[in-house]
């Protein structure tokens, strides 16, 4: 495999006809050459109970409890949920609410721990030997360790490892694309912990029972490609290391699978329907730690970057560390950032409260200076078609936007609003700086609300009708009962009358007799 980019990849000949995807300025050099450093124990740990997709975890500690590092403090609730462990030893000072690491800034249930600074381990999970363990045991260990998809999607990994039961799986794709600009945490992890990642990949392959494992890395990470190519074996597997073009959104699961296998995931289906499961490299690393050492997911690598950060770095931080402490660890700001983000610049969340914690899915803290962020001047659409050409899904964003602006949400849905990945390519590439993807976020929310309201109305109607039917049935039953009783009564009456008549008839001769006797 050639590490040097060929002329073809430089020029992208296919792009003379159509673009598909965008090539934002990567700006990875800010942090890509900084080794992963371990941040000391922070002064406070805040763990939101919902750091994953699915049901919120259930706290099992109370205020003033002393917890040890690695201790389970919130239990997964239901099939799609994840355990949460204490990242360090200390005292629980609150089980309450705190601002979410989300643009809404709404308070969410959170456990707050005051670390004692000793960082003392409690009981770890029992280690298992993946070579001997059954796939179910591995998945159970991953579930116990509270591992979620660490690329940002935060879907509980154990659920994905158990897909074997429902689908015929043949390929595991390890996503090391890291297509978001600025972010270098996966790149550094691959360069520095390749052997551990490889082991984690092998363990996941075993849990899934797949035949092939493909590790996809974007072409702009030659060192990571080189190191991963050396560590390409684990647990009877030899992985294929595939270099994918540097392009956003390369890390999108379905698009990556299409590029690697040539198969396109049907709309509303999963890649598992094609027999392919995608996991992130950082997740593989977490699986390695959980299975080999019994360590739950209590820390992660975060890229701290942006031109407003004094010392860009890749930092291993405990889950729950306040953002402000991580920023202080990196020397603070050189200037007041224009935007402070959790995640990458294409899909990351703007954060206004700097005390919000780092969660399991947070791969970057970016402090963008004014020179890096888009302006706010919006020009009208000139129909240049860049949004259409860059849309990886094949939508017509300018048209969807026009329909949404005209309050025609159903029209927008008809031309594919719900297929939108909200990857942001359209808004990135729009020369008029029109907030396209932002509008789609809004419209999707509105449409979901409309649908839920419709659903609610239908449900109410259904319940009302059911009640009516039930009442009618009761009334009918009552009527039937009445009729029956009436019939019974009548029958009884009749019977009584007949009986009386018979008795009368019986009595008559006697009477006649007596009468006759009397007459005679």
């Amino acid at each position: 495999m050639s590490v040097l980019p060929s002329l073809g990849t430089l020029l992208h000949p296919s792009q003379f006809f159509s673009f598909k995807g965008v090539h934002p300025d990567p700006r990875k050099h800010l942090s890509s050459e900084h080794e992963i450093e371990v941040m000391p124990v922070p002064t406070l740990i805040r763990l939101p109970l919902q750091q994953h997709i699915g049901a919120e975890a259930e706290p099992i500690v109370e205020r003033d409890d002393l917890v040890l590092k690695g201790q389970l403090i919130a239990k997964a609730r239901g099939p799609v949920s994840a355990n949460i462990h204490a990242p360090t030893s200390g005292r629980v000072i609150a089980v309450g609410h705190f601002t979410a690491p989300h643009p809404s800034g709404l308070p969410v249930p959170t456990i707050t721990i005051r670390p004692d600074g000793e960082d003392k381990w409690g009981a770890r999970l029992p280690r298992i030997r993946p070579e001997d363990a059954s796939p179910e045991e591995i998945a159970a260990q991953v579930a116990a360790a509270g591992i979620v998809g660490m690329g940002g999607a935060t879907f509980p990994s154990a659920v994905k490892l158990n897909l074997r039961a429902k689908y015929d799986l043949h390929t595991l794709v390890i996503n090391g694309a890291e297509c978001e600009p600025y972010l270098t945490c996966d790149d550094r992890l691959m360069r520095e912990r390749a052997e551990e990642i490889a082991d984690g990949i092998g363990i996941m392959g075993r849990a899934l029972g797949v035949k092939n494992i493909i590790v996809a890395i974007e072409s702009n990470k030659p060192q990571a490609i080189e190191v991963m190519s050396r560590y390409n074996r684990a647990l009877d597997y030899t992985f294929q290391i595939k270099v994918v073009p540097t392009q956003y959104p390369m890390g999108s699961e379905k698009h990556l699978v299409r590029l690697l296998t040539g198969k396109e995931t049907p709309a509303r289906a999963l890649t598992a329907d094609l027999g392919v499961v995608v996991h992130n490299v950082a997740t593989a690393h977490a699986v390695h730690n959980a299975v080999r050492y019994g360590e739950p997911l209590i820390s992660r690598i975060v890229t701290v970057s942006g031109r407003a950060i004094k010392r860009p770095a890749n930092v291993k931080v405990m889950i729950g560390t306040p953002m402000s402490e991580v920023i202080d660890h990196c020397g603070g700001f050189t200037e007041e950032p224009d935007r402070l983000l959790l995640g990458g610049p294409m899909m990351g969340q703007p954060i206004s409260n700097r005390r919000v914690p780092i969660v399991k899915g947070a791969n970057g803290i970016l402090a963008l200076a004014k020179s890096e962020t888009p302006g706010s001047d919006v020009m009208p659409c000139i129909r240049c078609g860049r949004c259409v050409q860059s849309c990886p899904v094949g939508l017509t964003p300018f048209e969807m936007n026009a329909r949404i602006q005209a309050d025609d949400l159903d029209g927008a849905a008809k031309i594919g609003l719900m297929d939108c990945l909200t990857c942001g390519c359209c808004a990135y590439t729009c020369p008029g700086n029109i907030p396209l993807v932002q509008t789609f976020h809004f419209a999707k929310g509105k449409l979901a609300e409309k649908q839920s309201r419709k659903h609610q109305a239908e449900e109410t109607k259904r319940l009302a009708e059911a009640r009516k039917a039930r009442e009618a049935a009761i009334a009918e039953a009552k009527r039937q009962m009445m009729l029956k009783r009436k019939a019974e009564m009548e029958a009884k009456k009749k019977a009584a009358a007949e009986k009386a008549a018979a008795e009368a008839a019986e009595a008559e001769p006697a009477m006649q007799q007596t009468q006759g006797e009397a007459n005679s």
Partner: protein, 366 residues
């Protein structure tokens, strides 16, 4: 911290804004324009400046009447580009008011009456050209040979030509390549007889022939167009389909009947073919956005140009071809949509093909 409006992702943005895009197109046009202006001398320079300046004035006036913010819209560069394109399609010695009327038609009628930037159905420069061609057939078809800035009329003489309607120029008015072919073929001459009278291929490639101010230097226009492709401002879809269709149709026609049809190389190097393929037909606002739509649009323009040039009453068909297809753009847009990921062209989800495990294991054993 006060809440800022619309602070959602993406938090980074491409360097291509509307005005940079327009300026890049203008930049790509510059070599051909400068060469054309040099070839046709002072009258062309005066006319060019008048046309572009009046386009700008009309733009500002229209914005003011429409009550739109003048600052950002006047800076977007679209009026500059429209005025520039109008000027490039004018005969170099046309009087000043032709340029002003052309700019007025382009900016006021074709652009702002439809709602301004991004709202026009028809390409403003082509509307202006078509209307001028029909209203002023004499002014719009008076061609002069390119003699160069130094050999042409001097400064004062040129002022008289452009601004006082003087017709006392030394240069003899001559026919453009396409009008010469048209008139000769119409008179019954055969292609073989006409060819020796025409400028040779080299002159047509370098722009040493009579024609509009900016349409003659074929190679410079091609280079500018390719620069736009490399800058990712346009794709090759429209230029290739326009040029390919013209070349293909004229090749077939001239192979069947070499005497009555012009050969492909003549079609590609004469008139405003190159200007149309790279700069006019690719106009964002009036062309379809999807790749397939662009190809259909380009093929139809190419075919229409060939048809109008061959059988129409005008020697050049670019303006009409582009305008006709502009009218079809909404139709193309409605029916030709990109395929959505994971769906068929009709919008249904793709069928789920279950991987066949038994087949695979059998393959492994073998």
């Amino acid at each position: 911290m006060t809440a800022q409006p619309l602070l959602a992702a993406p938090h980074t943005h491409t360097v291509f804004t509307v005005n940079r895009t327009m300026l890049a197109v203008v930049l790509a046009l510059t070599p051909a324009t400068v060469f054309g202006l040099y070839q046709f001398g002072w009258p062309a320079i005066f006319l060019f400046v008048t046309t572009v300046a009046s386009a700008y004035l009309f733009e500002i006036l229209s914005l003011w009447v429409a009550g739109k913010p003048i600052g950002p819209f006047a800076r977007d560069g679209s009026a500059l580009l429209s005025g520039w394109l109008v000027a490039m399609t004018l005969p170099p010695y046309a009087p000043w008011w032709v340029g002003v009327v052309g700019s007025g038609i382009a900016i006021v009628i074709a652009k702002h009456m439809f709602g301004g930037l991004g709202q026009n159905l028809f390409n403003p420069a082509m509307v202006a050209r078509a209307m001028l061609l029909i209203a002023l057939p004499v002014h719009m078809t008076t061609w002069v040979p390119p003699v160069g800035l130094l050999n042409g009329p001097d400064f004062l003489q040129s002022l008289a030509i452009t601004f006082a309607g003087s017709t006392e120029y030394d240069a003899i008015s001559s026919a453009s390549t396409l009008s010469h072919i048209k008139s000769q073929l119409g008179a019954g001459a055969s292609m073989e007889a006409i060819t020796p009278d025409l400028a040779d291929l080299k002159a047509r490639l370098f722009g040493l022939v009579p024609g509009s101010m900016g349409e003659t230097p074929t190679l410079l226009l091609l280079a500018g167009g390719l620069a736009l492709v490399f800058m990712r401002i346009i794709t090759l879809a429209i230029p290739l389909s326009v040029l390919g269709t013209i070349a293909g149709l004229s090749f077939v026609a001239s192979t069947i009947s070499p005497g009555t049809f012009a050969p492909p190389i003549l079609h590609l190097t004469a008139g405003s073919t190159m200007l149309c393929a790279f700069f006019i037909a690719t106009d964002y606002v009036t062309s379809p956005v999807s790749a397939l739509g662009k190809v259909i649009y380009g093929i139809c323009i190419g075919a229409l140009i060939f048809v109008i040039r061959t059988w129409g009453s005008f020697p050049e068909g670019v303006a009409f071809a582009v305008l006709l297809m502009n009218a079809c753009t909404p139709l193309i847009e409605t029916y030709v949509r990109p395929r959505v990921f994971g769906r068929t062209r009709t919008g249904k989800p793709l069928p789920i093909v279950k991987p066949n495990r038994t087949k695979q294991s059998a393959g492994d054993k073998a």
